[in-house]
Symmetry: C2
Subunit: 434 residues, 2 copies
C-alpha cells in the first residue's frame, strides 16, 4: 500500500476510529508514518496523534512541515491540540501558532501557558455556560439552537455575569426537569471544582473518588475556564500507575517499546550506575571481613542468601509504601500504625526464616554455630528491611522527592550493608571466640 499511494488509502482509513489510526501508525515503519499522513492530507484526523506513544508522535511531528501541523491542529479540540504541541520546541510552537487564526491561537497559547501536567493543559475549553435565571426550556433551546457547541458534554454550567461558576446540571437531570423550572433550582449543590493550575494527578484522584464524568475548571477568580473530561482522566491515572511501576523497576517513566536502542540504553544506565555504587559499598563491607571469609569459606557461600532475603523483604515493604503514598492512603494520620505493623511483619518473617535457614545451614555445614549466626543475621536484616522499606519512601516523600523513583537504591543499600555486616560481623565475633 505504501508504495502505491493514492485514493485507496483514504477510503481505507476514513472509517477507522482515531485510536485505530493511532495503532496503525505505530505498526508502520518510522519512515512510512509521516508519508501516510501527508498522503491522507485533509482526510487525516490529527486526533489520532494523541493516541500514539510520545516518541512516535515526536518523530512524526519532526518530519511534517509546520504548515501541515498548523493545518492539522486547527480543527482539533483545544486539549488535543495542546497535547500535540506541548512537546515541540518553542520556536516550532511559535511558528505553528502564528499560522493559526487569532481566536484559536489565543486559546492554544493560554493552554500552553499553564504549567506542565496541570488541569489547564488537559481541559477542554469549550463548555456550555448559562445564567442562573434561565428556565430549563431556555437552556434546552439554547443547546438545541447553538451550532458551535463542544462535541461531547455531560453537564451544563451555571455562571454569573462575571462568568464565575455557580453550579452545574448534569444532562440527564436537565432532561427530566420541568420546562418551567429555573435552571439553578436543579443544580447540584456543592459541586466539585478544580483550579486550572491544579496538578492533573490530583484532579484525576478527585474525579475517581467522587465518580465524576466531568468537572469544571476555574481560574484564580473562580471564573469558569474549561472542563476536565473523564476520558482524559483515565489516561492520567493510567500514566501515573505506569510511571510508578516503571520507576520501581528501575526504568524511566517515559520508556516505551518504540524507543530506539540508544535512548533506552541512556535511560537505563543511570539506574544501573546507582546500583553499581550500592554494590561497591556492599563490596567494601565484605572486604573488611576478608580474614573471616578466608578462615571459613562457607561464609562466602551463605552471605548472598542473607542479602537477597533482605533485599526482597525490603522491596515488598517499599512497594506497598510507595503505592500507598501515591494513592494518598498513607499520611501522617496512620504512618505510625503502619510502621509498627511493618516492623512486626518483618520480625515475624525474620523469626520464621531464621529457624528454617538456620537449621538448613547447620545441617549442611555440620557447624551448629553457623546456623545460629545466619539465623540471627536474618532476623536483624528482615526487621531492618521493614523499617527501611517504609521510612525511606516516607522521608523522600517529605523531602518532595518522588519515592517511586528514588527509594530502590537506598533500600537495597540499607539491606545489603546491614545484611553483610550483621552476618559477617556476628561470624567474626564467633570465630574470634572459638
Amino acid at each position: 500500500i505504501q508504495a502505491g499511494d493514492g485514493e485507496d488509502l483514504r477510503d481505507l482509513v476514513a472509517d477507522l476510529h482515531e485510536a485505530d489510526v493511532g495503532s496503525l501508525l505505530e505498526a508502520l515503519q518510522p519512515d512510512d508514518r509521516p508519508r501516510l499522513i501527508s498522503l491522507l492530507g485533509k482526510n487525516f484526523d490529527f486526533t489520532a496523534l494523541t493516541e500514539v506513544d510520545d516518541t512516535v508522535r515526536e518523530e512524526i511531528l519532526e518530519e511534517l512541515s509546520n504548515d501541515e501541523v498548523a493545518e492539522g491542529v486547527r480543527d482539533l479540540d483545544v486539549d488535543d491540540a495542546v497535547y500535540i504541541l506541548e512537546d515541540l520546541d518553542h520556536s516550532d510552537q511559535a511558528e505553528i501558532l502564528e499560522k493559526l487564526p487569532a481566536l484559536e491561537r489565543i486559546a492554544l497559547q493560554r493552554g500552553l501557558d499553564y504549567p506542565e501536567d496541570s488541569a489547564g493543559r488537559r481541559m477542554q475549553t469549550d463548555c456550555i455556560a448559562v445564567p442562573p435565571f434561565w428556565s430549563v426550556r431556555q437552556t434546552v433551546d439554547y443547546i438545541r439552537d447553538t451550532p458551535d457547541l463542544p462535541d461531547t458534554f455531560y453537564e451544563v454550567f451555571i455562571v454569573d455575569p462575571a462568568h464565575r461558576l455557580l453550579g452545574a446540571v448534569p444532562l440527564d437531570k436537565l432532561m427530566r426537569a420541568r420546562w418551567g423550572d429555573r435552571i439553578d433550582s436543579i443544580a447540584t449543590e456543592d459541586h466539585q471544582r478544580v483550579h486550572a493550575t491544579d496538578d492533573q494527578e490530583n484532579v484525576a484522584l478527585l474525579m475517581q473518588r467522587y465518580n465524576l464524568v466531568s468537572v469544571p475548571v476555574v481560574d484564580d477568580s473562580e471564573r469558569l475556564v474549561g472542563v476536565m473530561m473523564v476520558d482524559d482522566i483515565v489516561d492520567v491515572l493510567d500514566e501515573e500507575a505506569d510511571e510508578d511501576l516503571k520507576a520501581l523497576g528501575g526504568v524511566k517513566a517515559d520508556e516505551e517499546l518504540s524507543d530506539s536502542v540508544w535512548y533506552t540504553v541512556k535511560g537505563r544506565f543511570p539506574w544501573l550506575f546507582a546500583n553499581l555504587l550500592t554494590a561497591l559499598i556492599s563490596a567494601s563491607v565484605i572486604d573488611t571481613f576478608e580474614a573471616s571469609i578466608q578462615a571459613m569459606v562457607a561464609l562466602a557461600v551463605l552471605m548472598p542468601i542473607v542479602a537477597s532475603m533482605g533485599g526482597n523483604a525490603g522491596t515488598q515493604t517499599m512497594t506497598v509504601t510507595v503505592r500507598a503514598i501515591a494513592t494518598r492512603q498513607l499520611g501522617r494520620a496512620n504512618a505510625w500504625r503502619v510502621i509498627r505493623r511493618e516492623m512486626t511483619v518483618g520480625l515475624m518473617n525474620g523469626l520464621g526464616f531464621a529457624l528454617l535457614l538456620g537449621t538448613m545451614a547447620a545441617l549442611w555445614s555440620g557447624v551448629p554455630g553457623l546456623g545460629v549466626i545466619i539465623g540471627l543475621a536474618l532476623m536483624i536484616v528482615l526487621t531492618a528491611a521493614a523499617v527501611g522499606g517504609i521510612l525511606i519512601p516516607l522521608a523522600l516523600h517529605r523531602l518532595k522527592i518522588d519515592p517511586a523513583v528514588s527509594s530502590g537504591p537506598f533500600v537495597t543499600t540499607v539491606t545489603d550493608v546491614i545484611g553483610f555486616f550483621s552476618f559477617l560481623g556476628i561470624a567474626t565475633l564467633w570465630l574470634s571466640r572459638s
Copy 2:
C-alpha cells in the same frame, strides 16, 4: 462521638459524599465501624461500603446481621449490591437474597451468576432502551415522564422487539436533534458493545481506547442486559495497575494497609520462600567454586556486584515486558523486534559497565586479570538478564500464567546463577592456568 451515640451523628454524616463516609469508616477503629452503621440505621447509605478496602468491608459485613445487610443493599444499584455481596460466603448470600423482594432478588442473583471479574458483575442493569421507530420527541418525553429511570445515564439504547441491541444515542446528540427525526437516524453507527461474560479488564481497555463513558453489555443472543459505566472502569484499570505493581514487588495483589499483621505475614511468606529457594540454588553454584574463593578471597568480595547488576538489569527488562503485556502492546507481531532491541541494550550496557567495573577492579585488587574476568562476566550476565527478562514473562504469558506474579523469582534465579557461574567459572579457569 462514638461513646455518645445518637442524633448528632446522623446530622454529621448526612451531608457527606459516600466516598467521604467510606474514608471515615476506614479511619475508625475496627469495632466502631459496624456500630456507626447500626447507629445510623436507615440513614447509612450502603454505597459507602463500595468505597472501602476489601478487608474493611468484609469485617463490617461479618459484624452486621444479615437482616441489616439485606435492608441496606435493597436500595442500591444492582452493580453496587453485587459488589458488596460477591465476597460473602454462599450461605450468607442465599440468606440475604431470600429477604429481598422477588424482583431485586432475581436481578442480584443474575449478577452473581456471571463469572468473577466479568462485565456482568460490574454492569448497571438499569438502562434506557427505546424502539428504533420512535421519534426524538417520543424518546425525550419517555425519559421525562418515566419515574423509575437509572440515576445516571449518558446514552439511550435502541433495541428491537426481542430486546436485541441496534444502536445507541448519546444524550448530547439527542438533545440537539430535531424533534421529528426518527431516533435510529441519529444513532452512532458500529457502536462498541461488550458481552456480559467478557473480562472486566478487557472492557476497561476497550473503553479507555475509544474514550467511552458508557458501553452497552449484551448477552449471547445480542440482547441488551446492562451498561458498563466509566466510573467503574476507572476503578478496574486502577486495580489492574495496582495488582501488577504489587505483584512485581512480591506482594499479594489484594494486600491493603488495613490488613492484619498475620494476614500480611502469610501473604508475603511464599514470595520470600520462593526467593530462598532461588538463593539456595545460587549458594550451591558458589559452593562448587569454594576452592577458587579460598585461593583468592577477592572473588568473594566482587561476586555480589556481578549478581546484583544482573538482577537489576533483568528487573528493568522484566518490568517493561510485564507492563507491555498487560497493556496489550507486546504481542506476536512485535515480539521479535523487542527481543532484539533488549538484547542490544543489554549488550551495550554490558560493554559500558564491563569497561568501568573492570578498570576499577583491576586498580583495586592490583591484579589486571581480575578486571578482565569481571568485565567478561558482566557482559555475559547483562545480556543474559535482557534475554531472560523478556523471554520468561513472554513464556509465562503463553502458558496462561500471570507474568507479573511469577516472573520475578525466575528472572532472579537466571541472573544470579549465570552471574555467579560466569564470574567464578572464568576466574577458576584463569586461576588453573596461571
